[in-house]
C-alpha cells in the first residue's frame, strides 16, 4: 500500500513532500534500540526531537542520531521546555545549527496537570520564530480563531491537541478539529492525545493531513507492534476519508436482496 500512497497521496508541508501521514515522537522509549525499531516499523518519514545539553559526565552515552538517522528521517526539533519566545528562538537556533534546517515544531506548554498549550506565549513565540526565518509547525489548542491567526502569521502547519499530552484519550472535541480543518489553507495535524490505533484512524477521518504520535507508541506494551498499528490506522483513516463513508442512519437496510427467494 505504501507504493500506492507514495504515488497517489503524498502531503506537503513547507515545500517538503511526505508519503507517510504519521509523524512519530522519539521520547519516552525504554531505550534507543526500541526507539529505532518502532520508528522503522511506523513507516514514518519525520520524527520530533528535543534539544538538550550534552551530558558531560557520560560522554560515551549513545546518541539518538546513531539509532535514528537524520539522513533517513526528517528531524523536527521541538521547543519542549521553553516557556518564552526568547527561549524558543534560542533553542531552535541551536537546533538549526545542529541539524542544518529550519522546519521546527513550536510548543509552549502550560503547567501540569494539563500541559495545555499556552496560546498567548505560543502566538508571541511563533511570531519571533517566523521573523527569525523558521518554518513553524505549531502545537496549539483546538481554538479555531487562534488556529487561523497562527496560519495568517505564517505558520506552515497547525497542530491542535486531540487531548492532553500522554493522556491517550483520543480526539476529545472532533467538531472543533473539523472546523479548524475546514477553515485552514495549511496542513492540520492532530498532535497529542492519540492513545491507540483507532484514535489515529478517527483523526484522519476527520480530514487531518497527518497525525503526530509519541506516548501511544513508546509506552505501549509492544512499541513495535503499536507502531505498525499506527501506520495501518493512519492509512485506514486517510483512505476512508478519501473513499467517502456511508451516512449514519438510525434505521437498518438489508444487505441481501429480498427477491428471488425459493418457495
Amino acid at each position: 500500500m505504501d507504493g500506492a500512497l507514495r504515488s497517489d497521496d503524498a502531503w506537503t508541508v513547507a515545500g517538503r513532500h511526505f508519503a507517510s501521514r504519521l509523524i512519530v515522537g522519539t521520547g519516552k522509549y525504554k531505550d534507543l534500540p526500541t526507539t529505532a525499531a518502532a520508528i522503522e516499523a511506523s513507516g514514518t518519514e519525520m520524527v520530533t526531537v528535543a534539544v538538550r545539553r550534552v551530558n558531560l559526565s557520560d560522554r560515551n552515552a549513545p546518541m539518538l542520531q546513531d539509532y535514528v538517522s537524520p539522513s533517513r528521517y526528517t528531524y523536527l526539533p521541538n521547543t519542549a521546555g521553553c516557556f518564552t519566545a526568547d527561549e524558543a528562538v534560542r533553542t531552535l537556533r541551536l537546533a538549526r545549527e545542529a541539524g542544518g534546517w529550519n522546519l521546527v515544531k513550536l510548543e509552549v506548554l502550560g503547567p501540569p496537570p494539563t500541559l495545555y498549550p499556552d496560546m498567548a506565549a505560543t502566538l508571541l513565540a511563533a511570531e519571533a520564530l517566523i521573523r527569525d526565518g523558521f518554518e513553524v509547525m505549531v502545537y496549539c489548542s483546538d481554538d479555531p480563531i487562534a488556529a487561523k491567526r497562527l496560519e495568517e502569521m505564517g505558520c506552515v502547519a497547525i497542530m491542535p491537541l486531540g487531548a492532553p499530552i500522554g493522556s491517550g484519550l483520543g480526539v476529545q472535541n472532533p467538531l472543533m478539529i473539523r472546523m479548524i480543518i475546514e477553515n485552514a489553507k495549511v496542513p492540520v495535524l492532530v498532535d497529542a492525545g492519540v492513545g491507540t490505533a483507532y484514535d489515529a484512524t478517527f483523526a484522519m477521518e476527520l480530514g487531518c493531513d497527518a497525525v503526530l504520535v509519541n506516548s501511544a507508541i513508546a509506552m505501549a506494551n509492544d512499541p513495535v507492534l503499536m507502531a505498525r498499528a499506527m501506520k495501518a490506522g493512519v492509512e485506514a483513516g486517510r483512505l476512508a476519508y478519501r473513499a467517502g463513508r456511508i451516512p449514519r442512519r438510525d434505521a437498518a437496510s438489508a444487505s441481501s436482496p429480498m427477491t428471488g427467494l425459493i418457495r
Binding site: 534539544v51 550534552v54 542520531q65 526539533p77 521541538n78 534560542r90 541551536l94 537546533a95 545549527e97 545542529a98
Partner: protein, 73 residues
C-alpha cells in the same frame, strides 16, 4: 581538576571548568570526546557556526552551551 594561573575559567553546560589557555572550541570538543557533527554550540548566548570551531579561542568567563538532539515528542 587542579588549576593554575595560566588556566582560564569558563562554564560549560552550567558547570565550571578550567582549561589551558589558547584552547579552541574544536579543542574543547576533542578533550570532551564529542563528535562535532552531532552537536551545536552557543558561546555567550551566540551561536557558533560549526565551520568556525577550529578558529574560536576560548576566553575567561566564557559561557558555553553544547547541545545535541535527544528523544522528544
Amino acid at each position: 581538576m587542579s588549576t593554575t594561573l595560566e588556566q582560564l575559567r569558563l562554564t560549560v553546560n552550567g558547570e565550571p571548568m578550567s582549561l589551558a589557555r589558547g584552547k579552541t572550541l574544536a579543542g574543547l570538543l576533542a578533550e570532551l570526546g564529542l563528535d562535532m557533527r552531532k552537536v551545536a554550540i552557543e558561546r555567550n548566548r551566540e551561536i557558533v557556526p560549526r565551520s568556525t570551531y577550529a578558529g574560536v579561542v576560548l576566553e575567561d568567563a566564557d559561557a558555553i552551551e553544547i547541545v545535541h538532539f535527544i528523544g522528544g515528542g
